[in-house]
Symmetry: C2
DNA sequence: CTCATCCTCGCAATCGATTGCACGAAGGCT
DNA sequence: AGCCTTCGTGCAATCGATTGCGAGGATGAG
């Protein structure tokens, strides 16, 4: 049988005071406005009865649910769980819970989920989805709901964002390849409707300019998804085009893994003949041979930072105290998939 | 500025009816008790004003939050995200949201999180944590909160559970090894304080009996964690003991991966000299060489099933309609890490 | 034409906690 | 000694939606 909950009223009856007094006695802030003796008597009764506050009722009155929404494309994508743990690590100790939703990178699903979260009265939203434009989240933010985005920014909005310094990551990686003697460097770009795909392509172009390397559009292959199949297809396209290259900088680890496999299919060895680099440094990467040289992103701290900024927003901190832009450092991890450029094996 | 929400009262004022009428008109069940003309007028006004029901308020009154709690050890463990998607796939279309918490397999955290979920008034809990005993969840269930466990069962309770047919998986795998001619088969067992570790060891012993193979305690190494390091350590211990074996059945993929690496360190080739098998069929496994022969668990359907049973519980279905035990089939996936037993290479 | 019945809708209580306001007592001040 | 302040507590409204009950009108039967 479902036990009936202990409410303030029960404690009030038990201790012979008014429920409002009980409420105050149990609120750490208000508690000091109550005679210590009464307060501790109430506290004792509450403990004895096993009182647990009803957050729903409190939420109705205060309009705060101590719940945040977290929107990600897909929880099964290994880069997101660490982000979630990072978020949780700052929010949970403060009593917040999070509702996690998967957008599957679908526009309509995304905006529907924003509504779902708002209906549930979340106090704020961390938005790590990657569609390049979505009015629903901007609208929510404009209406006063605290929102922070992760890995991307919403143009023309006052939404704080946290991004990783992907430009620097791509640039460092390109420098690494150049320093190894590579000149003909292909880029396996990600889907251009995802911000990460687009950003990294732009970063590649800029980095080439910075490093005085020629940017060759004919050495860019664009994947339709961030997966191994598309990585393999990208390599096939590149090889079929007859262009020569000694290195492939991929927009993501999975593309890189697919690329290495496909190169092997064509009898081309990585790293001896062609160097390949990834992006993200996803888990288990060091179990796959050759161990991939990649750009490490600090997912956990990205989550922490996003949560911290969201907290400021929810606490109503002064606007000037809230960082609109946070760029987190990345680092390149050199492993076995890159090697000095040898002689070109293909014409 | 924070927009003020549209409430039933606003719609009532707009349409000139009482708020209770509006409530009924908007409730698909109650709607038929309202004149169609009035109902559609209310509906129109609701749409025009952009009304969104306040679930908090409704939850307070009805004592249903349309929220479920999901407890897992750690979201960064790749086997859990698919389970969550499975749960979501049945719950989300019905309007449920889920609050996911990570227990980190710590007893006190686990029971604290049960309280957190209850305070938030979840309508039910899916408990996929793996500690072998925890009174808090049993207490919650006894007090009437719908609870379903996944991958494990709580003894002496009326809590429905969904488990994978791990016994069959282990047995099939052992049969596979036997059929390949292996006789000296080691077992790399998981942590014995986790139900999966314990269950699979027991299953290994039973399977040996079933298949008329000798169960040799001296060929069992026990890992302290489910990770590659412990897999490597297990192999080191086994090798150090001087026993001979031609195959290692591991309680989990990561142990198997660590085992293969460690064997290689010792100059022992898998699968030519020693066959190694895993358990779980985690993602990216087919990218790692040799591709691991393992037991595939249908995580997604496990999640779906758990959610479905929980729904029955929450709907108050008749007890006899609710399956107390669900055993999901598993399948073995034969890849490259197993091969016919050759001559023993070690004495 | 009258009375019973049914249907539609309004009234008001309710869920549990929070909080502005007010009241009464006690203490300090002149 | 009287007045004002301060402190502790109670009162009651409130958050927004749900729902049992009952009133009133419409409808049908006799």
């Amino acid at each position: 049988m479902r036990q009936k909950r202990i409410t303030l009223k029960d404690i009030a009856r038990e201790t012979g005071v008014h429920v409002s007094t009980v409420s105050r006695a149990l609120d750490p802030v208000e508690r000091k406005s109550i005679t210590e003796e009464v307060a501790s008597r109430i506290q004792a009764a509450a403990d004895a009865l096993g009182y647990r506050p009803n957050r729903i009722a409190a939420g109705l009155r205060t309009n705060r649910t101590m719940t945040v929404g977290v929107m990600i494309p897909d929880i099964t994508n290994v880069i997101f769980p660490p982000i979630l743990r990072g978020i949780e690590s700052v929010l949970e100790p403060l009593g917040y819970a999070s509702i996690i939703v998967n957008t599957d990178s679908e526009r309509d699903r995304e905006s529907r989920l924003v509504d779902v979260l708002r209906d549930r009265g979340v106090d704020g939203i961390i938005h790590a989805a990657v569609l390049r434009s979505d009015p629903s989240i901007a609208r929510a933010a404009a209406e006063g709901l605290p929102v922070v985005t992760l890995n991307r920014m919403v143009e023309n909005s006052q939404i704080p964002y946290i991004i990783n310094d992907e430009d620097a990551g791509i640039c460092e990686m390109l420098r690494h390849l150049r320093d190894l003697g590579h000149r003909d460097i292909a880029h396996l770009a990600g889907p251009q409707d995802l911000s990460t795909g687009q950003l990294r392509l732009a970063a590649f172009r800029n980095a080439a300019a910075t490093l005085s390397l020629e940017f060759r559009p004919d050495l860019v292959a664009t994947a339709r998804r961030f997966d191994e199949q598309e990585g393999a297809r990208g390599i096939r396209d590149l090889l079929a085009s007859g262009r020569t290259f000694t290195a492939v900088l991929c927009a993501n680890d999975r593309l890189a893994l697919g690329a290495i496999d496909e190169l092997r299919e064509h009898g081309i060895d990585c790293p001896r003949e062609v160097s390949v680099t990834g992006f993200n440094d996803m888990p288990f990467l060091d179990l796959i041979r050759p161990r991939l040289t990649t750009v490490r992103i600090l997912q956990h701290s990205a989550g922490q930072t996003a949560a911290t900024v969201l907290l400021q927003l929810m606490n109503g901190d002064k606007a000037e105290d809230i960082p609109m832009e946070t760029i987190l450092p990345v680092e390149i991890v050199v492993r076995e998939s890159t090697a000095p450029a040898g002689s070109l094996v293909r014409s």
